[in-house]
Subunit: 329 residues, 2 copies
DNA sequence: GACGACTATCTAAACGGTTAGGAAGGACGC
DNA sequence: GCGTCCTTCCTAACCGTTTAGATAGTCGTC
């Protein structure tokens, strides 16, 4: 692998000039010399070593991403959007899949710190995210999920509470007498906000029966729980799910049990990835503006003001499709 | 951010000793000195700079991954498995989403070369992958898709031709008189192999009507094409899809058109991600052994023999579920 | 023709680690 | 008492860049 020194020797100059050419500065290089350098570099197949560069001027142009499950469509769309926004600014994305495991999350945090990522985007399930380690290292972090305490950590996310409220109200307005909630594991601030929105929507609706079920954020586990819950005689007439994945699991259970959706059971999801339009039946859901959030996060982190904490609320949409009992043409 | 020098000063030693302590070698350190170093490091919150380390001994402990679409469940599961295998060996994964765009793919290749990733795992749609650039840079690559010409590039994948054959034969054995193929874009070696397997399975079956439809690997586009194809009076009785995503698009179209699956139209998918068990109806598909492939790739790339090209064929399963017309209990 | 202003380039010191070479000191054998 | 061997540690070169400081050459000016 050719180095700047090799190029310099072949072009009959110094490494400084090679650097000036490849960075367009900070000093001028005469057109002839530039030409010689570029030719030599091409002949040697020279690619500047980004590590050395980073070591020298302190920016790695890399951004860490920590998500609970990269195979989950929501995080997949998020990663895709983040990657694109990062690449557009010459940055690459390092991924860390925590698998909902706090230990793995921590080890990714350590790996990112050692690799000196310029900043980190993180979606943690834990309420106490390992964010402190980044703060100690002076690495800016933006969390895309609600945090229990802000603690100076930047946050960009939709208002989960308001969104849960909107979806639940929508079900209530259909007149369903019994509504179940399939919430996440429940220890996180996110689950808490889902719960708050759900409860708030039901407050004062004394004739609506509510039940809460905590499941993992996976199709498989939600399906398993739903197969139980929906087989009971007292089964709910509608189900609010805190993620689309759980909703798909509930849909699966309905089909398996011979229950029609929405005629026997209405279902709403949450996240609104592209796939929610293609389920059977198409899913009513809360759509998060993933591309906009991703763009905003990366702009923030690669911009100047990456230091100061920011708390932003992104807008959401209630996307009404057939799974909730609405007629769509 | 503390450096080894800071730690050395505080511990009253030299940077060499700090290095010996953190690497357990290559020289001995007395227990007392080691203790002093560790204490000083803890007090200063020292994290060795992986860039400097990499620069010094030439290994970045990072692996690049290039996929067409990280939000696609198949690539998501793949990335997850690769990330886990890589992390288990102290490596991190850099992701590059090419979005089926050759230009973006090339720019990721360049970024990976400059960052001196130790190796690359790549799934390209292009037949001429930008693999040559890695070869020039002396970076080992493993392609997880079929290549037109091997050209010394390592490959690990299932036998697409054989798998396509198996799935198609399965449909034929149901006695369906008209079978459609939803293949990928068609320029790639992968699509070609799907096609070959499909054709081979049908050769000699003169009373079966076959038709070929090329779509993008997306639910949306496959659905759009299927809405057209399945609305025709001469609609196929069964559909072989070259990816699960396309199969989901076909299922969507069936539901939209009021066609029952499998009674009116049978459908098979390809890839066999976990979600294929949860569609309506559950999808008959070819399951690729993603975890095993990922483990094997990473073992290969982080092992010693990362140099020599390897051509491995992984086993696949035909997973029979309801979408193809089989009765499952 | 000496002087300042400017340009193009080179030299060398960082950046933060790793590691070979050598020095200092103690244990041991003779 | 001296050479030998070991252990422990330090010094300094190196990895491949960036960039400030120094230098040399050109030009215009008075």
């Amino acid at each position: 692998m050719a180095t700047a020194r090799d190029v310099a020797v072949r072009a009959g100059t110094s490494t400084a000039v090679v650097s000036y050419v490849f960075n367009n500065g900070p000093r001028n290089v005469s057109p002839e010399t530039r030409e010689k350098v570029l030719r030599a570099a091409a002949e040697l197949n020279y690619h500047p070593n980004a590590l050395a560069r980073a070591l020298s001027h302190g920016k790695t142009r890399s951004i860490g991403l920590i998500v609970p499950d990269i195979a989950n469509r929501f995080f997949g769309e998020l990663a895709r959007a983040l990657e694109e926004a990062a690449a557009a600014r010459g940055n690459i994305l390092l991924i860390g899949d925590s698998g909902l495991n706090l230990q793995r999350e921590r080890s990714h945090v350590a790996a990112f710190v050692e690799r000196r990522v310029d900043s980190v985007v993180m979606v943690s399930i834990a309420d106490d995210p390992s964010v402190a380690a980044f703060a100690d290292a002076g690495i800016p972090v933006v969390a895309l999920h609600p945090l229990a305490a802000r603690d100076g950590v930047s946050t960009i996310s939709i208002d989960y509470r308001a969104a849960a409220f909107a979806a639940t109200r929508h079900l209530i307005e259909h007149g369903y007498p019994a509504i179940a909630m399939f919430n996440g594991p429940g220890e996180s601030a996110g689950s808490r906000q889902h719960r708050e929105g759900f409860d708030l929507a039901l407050s004062g609706e004394s004739d609506v029966v509510a039940s809460i079920h905590n499941t993992e954020i996976s199709r498989a586990h939600a399906a398993q729980v739903a197969l139980d819950v929906l087989a009971r005689p007292s089964r709910p007439r509608a189900v609010y799910c805190s993620t689309d994945e759980q909703a798909y699991g509930v849909l699966f259970a309905c089909h398996r049990l011979g229950l029609r959706v929405p005629d026997d059971v209405a279902v709403t999801g949450f996240d609104g990835t592209e796939h929610s339009a293609y389920s059977y039946p198409p899913l009513t859901t809360i759509r998060q503006p993933i591309p906009e959030i991703a763009e905003r996060v990366i702009a923030l982190l690669t911009g100047d003001g990456a230091g100061l904490p920011v708390y932003e609320i992104a807008p959401f949409d209630l996307v009404v499709r057939e799974s909730c009992g609405h007629h769509t043409n």
